[in-house]
Amino acid sequence: MTTKTKYLKKYEKEMNMCIRCAYCFEKCPVIKEAQWDTDGARGKVILSYGLLTGELEPSQYIADKLFRCTFCRDCLDRCPSKVSILEIISSARADLVNAGYASDTHKHVINNINNTGNIYGDTEVISQERDGKTPLFIGCQYLGRPNKTKKYIKILEKLGIDPVVENEMCCGYPMEVLGFREDFEKHKENFKKSFPYKDAITLCPTCTVFLREGHRIDAKHVLQVILEKLPKANLGMKVTYHDPCDFSRGLKIIEEPRKILEKLGVEIVEMKNSKENSRCCGGGGGILMTDQDLSGDIARKRIKEAIETGVDILVTSCPTCEQVLKKAATEIGESEGKNIVVRNIEDIIWKAVKSI
């Protein structure tokens, strides 16, 4: 056992529970692209075990492998031994960061959070501060997309919800997932001061998960909140729906977006892999920052699956999925002449409620 594994050592038993059956290969987006055992969830658990036992020394190569994960959670569903694979990977990342193997890109993002409270490092990115009754957590991804945020706030207002928005800071998820745990411990206290609520409505799927798991806040995603309040509409659209991983496998928010779309008169044509089996868009876990080729490969595969449904519009409910899939859709359109438009669900909802 080495002293370099401050965070991994907690998981020795978990790693022994992994019987290396490889069931986690089944839908892992990274191994499906890379096709090397080292790149799958099992490979990452084995590498972590090697770091823990000292059979492997930390290296840039190992760090690169352990950072090639989208945190899509599919392996957690596949693993029959219920090994905490993502906790092991994030602990290994934390130990590697402590050993000096953080990427410059990741360091930059973390410095941004430390210095400005958001991932962009932009003090001009300010939340839509407002008084109200129900706490609303915007999250960095929506802070960087003010028009979308405004739209969601208007939707809430039209449905009788009066949100209070603070001058909030990042929930800290990037710190946790990118292995900057010591930064997160410090950030956690500041976060608590900036957002002193026990429950909240959220806009971003990942923030929703992390407010619950990292801060013990009873977070409800805006789609869960508005489902019952939305009036029926007849938009007459036909779309396919991409489940964000933090919804389909994290929070099990699978039916709510579908029910909303159905309520608004939108017909859904499901992709081959949908709901619990939805494929990752390739945007999570930090790979969008450090491995855009891999991220793009995964995203293009998902877009091709969406195109196979025969519809012209793909709807999703996560800003990162939207961004990654939009880029992939443009690339597929240019290279293969097959087109699909990617839209966020709030656009569809707004279309239906703006005239209320």
């Binding site: 022994n16 290396r20 059956c21 096709q35």
Partner: protein, 477 residues
């Protein structure tokens, strides 16, 4: 012999060769207890590349170990003396599907369930159904003669492989077998390759028999207060001329583990039998299920449930398929090890063997489960133990030997479907002692330099425990 990595990169391209210590560490193990690193991992993408690699390796006497998903449980793909691991996952094309001939041709890296997904629109499937079907490759299934939960009706991989292309140790490409179900003349070399664990050649294409998808299917579960009753039920079903498509047994250890890991809510009984019938005629399926139900009752089965609800069947089926890895959830501090894991015994000896397995476990201070495709005579056992304790490994070693001694005594065989590798080497050599020299002669004729997956089967070390380092951290106490 130092391996010329640049030479290998010339053959397959730089992106398809890895020799970083991290990759070698990952490729040093599979789902067995063993660990031993290769010198390099190479990912061929064509038959020609495989041939060139083999020519290079043969000339330089470098071991070559073909590998699929690396889900083998006995160390089949663990390289004892280094060498080249050939990761075959890149050769994953379905070459052709010929429903009119009831065959398909595939590359070895095709995943079993992906093949089934492609066959489904034609109304066919590939019958061997290993629990690992969602990730295991056809090449791996051929190497180990895998079968699975439907072997009671459809047999094993060997029954479904009728032809193949194989790259031999010297790099020559040979076509074996035929495109027909019957092929009477000459040595059945394609069948010989099946189960040879990559010791005789590298399979680069396989011709497989496919079967029409059954139109109707029903599944049943029965509880038994004693293993003896469950064993008799299984024996009676087969003897009655019924051909279920699945006839499985789970002992109490397995039941507890599945409940803990998958929250299935199975009753706390000594044994549960899970059975399935399928076919093209609904009444025939119902008739067989009715007969099995009667046999369950005759043997004191209780809580008998029969269902043709797809959700219910999927729940039972998936629960069974995930049994092996679920065993780690049996009790805190005990970990599943794939040891003594797939013997087969004559049908009438199933109950006695399961009973004996539990006695052996008690004597050696380990926990052993027993479950499996008992309708085909196959029993899976796993040893659950604290893998950090040396004394537990010694107990496991004694238990493995005692289990196989008993299995051989009652006329059973060492491995029904998982293969030999290192873990079952000693028992295999004991069981097959009369044919070891014949096997060595065949191996020598095809691979005189002994480069193809050496130290496996009849050449495996005499002590599995010291054959390779264990992949677990073991304290010296």
């Amino acid at each position: 012999m130092k391996i010329d990595v640049n030479k290998l990169k010339e053959i397959v391209g730089e992106d398809n060769v890895r020799d970083n210590i991290a990759d070698l560490y990952v490729y040093s193990s599979d789902a067995s207890v063993h660990s031993s690193k290769p010198d390099v991992v190479v990912r061929p993408g064509s038959v020609k590349e495989v041939q060139e690699i083999m020519r290079y390796a043969n000339k330089n006497k470098i071991p070559v170990i073909p590998r699929g998903a690396g889900s083998g449980m006995s160390g089949q793909t663990v390289p004892l003396s280094g060498g080249i691991v050939l990761d075959m996952k890149h050769m994953d094309k379905i070459i052709e599907i010929r429903p009119e001939d009831v065959i398909c041709k595939v590359e070895p890296g095709v995943v079993n369930d992906e093949l089934n997904g492609q066959l489904k629109p034609y109304g066919f499937f590939f019958p061997p159904t290993p629990a690992s079907g969602k990730i295991c490759t056809i090449g791996g299934m051929i190497g180990n003669n895998a079968s699975g939960i439907r072997s009671v009706k459809y047999g094993a991989t060997r029954d479904a492989v009728i032809g193949m292309k194989v790259v031999l140790a010297n790099g020559d490409l040979v076509t074996l077998g035929s495109n027909t179900k019957v092929d009477s003349s000459g040595y059945q070399l394609a069948k010989l390759m099946v189960g040879s664990e990559g010791t005789l050649g590298v399979v680069v294409e396989a011709t497989l028999l496919i079967s029409p998808l059954p139109k109707f299917r029903a599944m049943g579960v029965a509880n038994f207060a004693t293993l003896e009753d469950a064993g008799k039920m299984i024996s009676n079903v087969i003897a009655a001329g019924i051909t279920p498509s699945m006839l499985e047994l789970m002992d109490n250890v397995a039941i507890t583990a599945v409940n803990n890991a998958q929250n299935l809510g199975l009753p706390d009984v000594d044994a549960i039998a899970v059975f399935e019938c399928n076919g093209m005629v609904k009444e025939a399926v119902e008739y067989d299920m009715k007969r099995i139900k009667e046999i369950c009752k005759k043997n004191n089965g209780t809580g008998i449930r029969i269902s043709d609800d797809p959700d219910e069947m999927t729940r039972i089926y998936e629960g069974r398929k995930k049994l092996f890895p679920s065993l780690s959830k049996y009790r805190e501090g005990l970990f599943t090890t794939a040891l003594a894991d797939d013997m087969a015994v004559p049908m009438s000896k199933i109950a006695d063997t399961v009973h004996e397995i539990h006695e052996i476990a008690k004597r050696n201070n380990v926990v052993m489960s027993a479950y499996g495709h008992c309708g085909a005579g196959l029993i899976h056992t796993k040893i659950l133990m604290d893998t950090s304790k040396k004394s537990q490994w010694q107990g496991a070693k004694r238990a493995v030997k005692e289990v196989y001694d008993y299995v051989h005594k009652v006329g059973g065989t060492t491995s029904g479907e998982h293969g030999i590798g290192f873990s079952k080497g000693p028992a295999f050599k004991q069981e097959k002692k009369d044919s070891l020299e014949l096997m060595k002669a065949i191996k020598n004729a095809l691979d005189p330099n002994n480069i193809l997956n050496p130290h496996k089967l009849m050449d495996s070390p005499d002590d599995w425990l010291t054959a390779t380092p264990l992949r677990y951290q073991v304290n010296t106490k």
